[in-house]
């Protein structure tokens, strides 16, 4: 049995010393910028955020297992009017997972049968710099706002087709785009807008002010389903 443990440690040592690709792990990394454009009474309002995405696959000798991704970055924060801020979260529709890591795969490769997982990773990492695409509706990030920016429990969902309900008449969403970019990861905007944010991160609270161990999977209250990670993730807390 000691041999097995030594074997595992040996594999890990080889991986760390010589690079995981030698033993079959593959990784890709890119930066992607989500840009939200809104038309308001005073004209076009634009805001964006750049995140880092790292995806990888494991070798066949480990049983394969699909692809895993990690994300570092922030949600888009757009001031529509004083005290009224729109957020495009690092989360898709509440029912879906894998957002935002895999949204680039879905947008740039709508027909996955034409390319392999490795080909898609290579293309995103090396070939699509500067390529900007409109996000289809099914790939929109979850749009939210707070009726009181200082009270996280007042979070509410913003209907992409009815910005007026959240922000007043004459305001509508033009489009949301995704671009593969060289720009640096956006930092510091979320905590500058949300005064309570760092305290909630420190305590592991969801937006409802509760740290959950066993968490609801559905709720009429959006605050029960949203954590700080949907606003900002990765890097040092």
């Amino acid at each position: 049995m000691k041999t097995w443990t030594l074997g595992i440690l040996g594999v890990l040592a080889v991986a760390m010393l010589s690079g995981c690709e030698l033993i079959g792990f593959k990784n890709w990394e890119w930066h992607q910028k989500i840009t939200v454009e809104v038309v308001g009474p005073s004209g076009l309002i634009t805001s964006d955020s750049v995140i880092e995405v790292r995806c990888g696959t494991s070798p066949d000798w480990l049983g394969g297992g699909g692809m895993g991704c990690q994300v570092k970055g922030e949600a888009v924060a757009m001031e529509i009017a004083p005290g009224q801020v729109l957020f495009a979260l690092l989360k898709g529709d509440p029912e879906s997972q894998n957002y935002p890591a895999k949204v680039a795969y879905q947008v740039f490769f709508p027909n996955r049968k034409l390319t392999t997982v490795e080909e898609r990773g290579d293309l995103l990492e090396r070939e699509f710099r500067g390529d900007r695409r409109d996000l289809p509706r099914q790939n929109y990030p979850l749009l939210v706002t707070f009726t009181d920016i200082n009270d996280p429990k007042t979070i509410q969902r913003v209907d992409p087709d009815d910005f007026g309900a959240a922000f007043g008449p004459g305001i509508w969403l033009k489009h949301i785009t995704l671009e593969i970019t060289d720009e640096p990861v956006t930092e510091g905007k979320i905590e500058s807008v949300l005064g309570w944010f760092l305290n909630y991160v420190k305590n592991g609270y969801r937006v409802n002010g509760v740290k959950c161990v066993a968490c609801p999977v559905s709720s009429h209250n959006l605050a029960d389903l949203i954590g700080t990670g949907e606003f900002k993730t990765g890097g040092k807390k």
Partner: protein, 255 residues
């Protein structure tokens, strides 16, 4: 067609891989599988402690029973795999302090509303595959709530180490240990023997499912306690780690 309990436990062990963050298969939503309903899940917030440790668990309601399924090893990327190895597989080596072990206990307590040592929780079962099965066995061995593991990771040493640690810390409340375990041993010597056993356990951490026997060691009261604890709390059948069919192969008996 009705589904046997064993098949359903296998299905739910698999389903835990396909929910939460980085699902193996993205169903695109839905909180049910067959006639089981997802009630709660562990925290999936990006950057949270659970995700950072590679931990994920789901509570299901099935035929009025609560089923807790712990997810196994994520092999989607080396980062995920390393998180599971460091925070989860170390349970198999006897490290009860591995973070997924603590998270597994916390999730169990949050779902059941009972502390770990408060005894069997009625109409509740723990399950999982591979690492998940090891976590299920770890929590089941300590709580005595029934569990089923599929191709599971070892958990006995970690369960023993956790129990010994909690007992010394005075955390084993509401469920006093069976003193027959310490038959013939005075209370004052119990701590000494447990500490001795903990040292033995840590020396054996590279050895899965081994017992503290060697030609240089005389059987001691501590050895008796160790083996009696395992024989009472665990009833396991050795299985092949190559068994990928997930056939029911173990059960944790209630005392």
């Amino acid at each position: 067609m009705s589904v046997s309990p064993e098949l359903m436990y296998a299905i739910l062990s698999m389903d835990a891989y396909n929910r939460g963050y980085d699902p193996g298969i993205d169903y695109g939503g839905g909180n049910s599988i067959a006639n089981a309903t997802v009630m709660q899940e562990s925290d999936t917030s990006l950057g949270g402690d659970d995700v950072a440790a590679g931990f994920y668990a789901v509570e299901y309601m099935w035929n009025s029973d609560t089923i807790i399924s712990y997810r196994g090893t994520n092999t989607g990327s080396e980062a995920e795999l390393l998180a599971d190895i460091w925070n989860g597989w170390t349970v198999g080596g006897g490290f009860s302090a591995a973070s997924q072990a603590g998270l597994a206990i916390n999730f169990y307590e949050a779902v059941t509303g009972q502390s770990l040592y408060d005894g069997v929780v009625a109409n509740t079962l723990l399950t999982g595959h591979s690492l998940g099965g090891g976590l299920a066995g770890f929590v089941s061995a300590l709580s005595k709530t029934g569990g089923v593991g599929f191709d599971h990771m070892p958990f006995g040493l970690a369960a023993w180490a956790q129990y010994a640690s909690d007992y010394i810390a005075g955390n084993v409340t509401g469920n006093a240990p069976d003193l027959s375990l310490f038959e013939g041993i005075s209370v004052d010597t119990i701590k000494g023997d447990i500490l001795l056993l903990m040292n033995i356990v840590y020396e054996l951490l590279a050895c899965f499912r081994c017992y503290p026997r060697s030609s240089s060691m005389q059987p001691s009261a501590g050895d008796v306690i160790f083996e009696r604890f395992l024989s009472i709390h665990l009833d396991v059948v050795e299985v092949s780690f190559g068994d990928k069919l997930g056939i029911l192969n173990e059960s944790i008996h209630e005392r």
